[in-house]
């Protein structure tokens, strides 16, 4: 039990750090926006010649008014998000199929990434929600509220289903991960604190009158989604992807501010990846398979689990064999604990 006390200490330290950061953010709250100073704009409306002045049967051409994206398409985005979250949870927790999850990730990348060009994403919506909660003059459309809260509510029940097959940034990194290299645990923990710092900074800068949305400005992958961008941002995105060939999802694990929020919600999650002690073989294949450090000492650390379903794929007793589980149980006796 000493191990779990150690873990409990480490956990409570991180909780304290996170709580202090949260209090700091709330303390620097609600700076009102300052209206820009300007010379009042006067137009002598009635001096321009009108149709009857011009004569000759002239008709003023109708104004061109190109319409923005239909608002019901925004509702469709929310519906697709909800559906993807549901499918992701089901695929990983019930179907336990890595192949299907990869397909979902590709689909999410195509829809939320390349079609919607990454905007509005739940990660960026943190800034909008932070400003809307603290500034009485700022409000956000319901669509953005839904985009922010849906993955969090799902996280309260099922964990980071969003990260698995839904987040476009995560899907992109997931798909480029070739040969995962294990990151030493201490380094992993230390780097993991960066996302809380990023969360704090993002909220702090979003709340300032300049309303600087850091998450949007420094999104490494939005340049790829838009197929255009500043050279330095494209290079940073490329660097993340290159690193992501070997280090599993570096942005998701160490920088994503939404991941910080999902972590907090996952701690009280009802379901999630579980390694059932009385059914597991202690073989360690899942621990080796997980590139994200979500399995430690043969137990799932749910808040780090990014729903990639590799553990299921690697487990000799699950994944492909899930549907044969019943058969396995009847074919052989419960293996004894050795």
């Amino acid at each position: 039990m000493t191990g779990s006390i150690e873990m409990a200490h480490a956990t409570s330290t991180r909780r304290a750090v996170a709580a202090i950061l949260a209090l700091f953010i709330l303390a620097t709250v609600a700076v009102p926006t300052i209206a820009a100073q300007s010379i009042p704009y006067q137009r002598p409306v009635d001096t321009a010649p009108q149709e009857k002045t011009i004569g000759g049967g002239y008709k003023t051409p109708a104004a061109q008014k190109p319409l923005p994206r239909n608002s019901w398409l925004q509702l469709l985005d929310v519906a697709v998000l909800a559906a993807a979250l549901a499918i992701s949870s089901w695929l990983v927790l019930k179907r336990r199929s890595r192949k299907a999850l990869v397909a979902l990730a590709a689909g999410s990348l195509a829809y939320f990434g390349f079609y919607r060009e990454g905007c509005v994403c739940p990660i960026g919506s943190i800034q909008n929600v932070a400003v809307a909660l603290t500034n009485p003059q700022y409000s956000i459309p319901m669509v953005v509220t839904a985009t922010f809260f849906l993955p969090l509510v799902v996280a309260v029940f099922f964990g980071r289903a969003f990260c698995g097959g839904v987040c476009a940034l995560g899907a992109l990194q997931e798909l480029v991960l070739l040969k995962p290299v294990r990151v030493p645990r201490r380094l992993d923990r230390a780097l993991g604190l960066l996302k809380y710092v990023y969360l704090g900074l993002a909220i702090f800068f979003a709340l300032k009158p300049a309303r600087d949305f850091l998450i949007c400005r420094f999104d490494p992958f939005v340049g790829f989604f838009r197929r255009t961008g500043a050279p330095h941002m494209l290079m940073i995105g490329g660097a993340f992807l290159l690193a992501g060939l070997f280090v599993g999802r570096p942005y998701c694990r160490y920088l994503c501010p939404y991941g910080a929020l999902l972590n907090w919600c996952t701690r009280v999650a009802r379901r999630g990846v579980t390694i059932t002690p009385d059914k597991e073989l202690d073989c360690g294949l899942c621990t080796d398979a997980c590139p994200y450090g979500a399995i430690e000492k043969m137990r799932a650390v749910r808040r780090n689990c990014l729903y990639c379903a590799r553990c299921y794929a690697a487990c000799p007793r699950d994944g492909k064999l899930a549907r044969a589980k019943a058969q396995l149980v009847t074919l052989s006796a419960e293996p004894a604990r050795s």
Partner: protein, 273 residues
């Protein structure tokens, strides 16, 4: 010929000699008193620049002119109010059709001329207010081209009306009956002798010469009747954003220009070169 600035009168604000929030028209009478149409008032200064009198008009005044008998005519929207020299209202001419925004008033041969910016023409009335004829409407474009929103004219000693046609970058000469006699001026973007921008010159005063003001690159210039530029009176002293600067000339040849942003009247005098 050169001009130098001798005085500045007025300014922004509610002080005794100041013009409040707008300054639209000026005029000088035979004795050198200066009349300014600002906000909804007429403000009178004497020849030395001291505030003499001020009275209110019922609507914001767009123009002001002083007749030979001392009556003060102010142009407003759909009406002209006539005051005596002390500021008492004598008469009001109202005409919804013929008087729009009256931006200039003048006198010729016992008749009153009103520049109607909405109708883009100069209307001629007799002293009782009866309409006689239009001036400047008898052309294929049905009026003067005034996108800047102001019709302005001056009457010379021979009774010829010199009206600005800013859209065509020229000053046109008309008889009181409305017949076009000719025009001076042309467009030029850089030569000071021409009129720059989209609609210049905006305002005019006529005595022994033709005095015009322009906007956007604001300046006041003086031409002779043949159309030759005699001098650029001033340019840099005006606020760059001012538009439709009313101009007046007194008997001594002093030029008064109303800066519509600084709300001040600049007074210039010719100096022997």
């Amino acid at each position: 010929m050169q001009y130098r600035q001798v005085a500045v009168i007025g300014g922004k604000g509610a002080g005794p000699g100041q013009f409040g929030t707008s300054l639209r028209g000026i005029a000088v009478d035979a004795t050198g008193n200066l009349y300014a149409a600002n906000d909804s008032q007429i403000t009178v200064f004497d020849a030395a620049g001291r505030l003499r009198r001020r009275w209110s008009t019922s609507q914001p005044a767009h123009s002001v002119a002083v007749a030979g008998d001392g009556k003060v005519y102010t142009g407003q929207i759909h009406q002209i109010e006539i005051f005596d020299g002390a500021g008492k209202l004598i008469n009001t001419w109202r005409d919804e059709a013929l008087l729009g925004r009256v931006t200039a008033i003048g006198f010729v041969n016992g008749d009153v001329l009103a520049g109607d910016a909405t109708g883009r023409a100069i209307r001629r009335f007799d002293l009782s207010g009866k309409f006689r004829n239009n001036i400047g409407r008898d052309n294929p474009l049905n009026g003067l081209l005034v996108p800047n929103g102001v019709v302005d004219f001056g009457v010379d000693a021979h009774g010829i009306i010199h009206a600005t046609n800013p859209g065509k970058h020229r000053v046109e000469r008309y008889t009181p009956a409305g017949e076009l006699l000719g025009h001076i001026g042309h467009f030029h973007g850089t030569d000071a002798a021409g009129f720059g921008g989209c609609c210049n010159p905006t305002n005019i005063a006529v005595r022994d010469r033709i005095y015009v003001t322009e906007k956007a690159g604001p300046r006041a210039k003086v031409y002779n009747f043949s159309g030759e530029l005699e001098a650029v009176i001033a340019a840099d002293v005006f606020d760059a954003n001012c538009k439709n600067m009313s101009v007046a000339v007194d008997r001594q040849g002093r030029v008064y220009v109303a800066d519509t942003v600084k709300l001040a009247i600049f007074i210039f005098e010719a100096v022997a070169v």
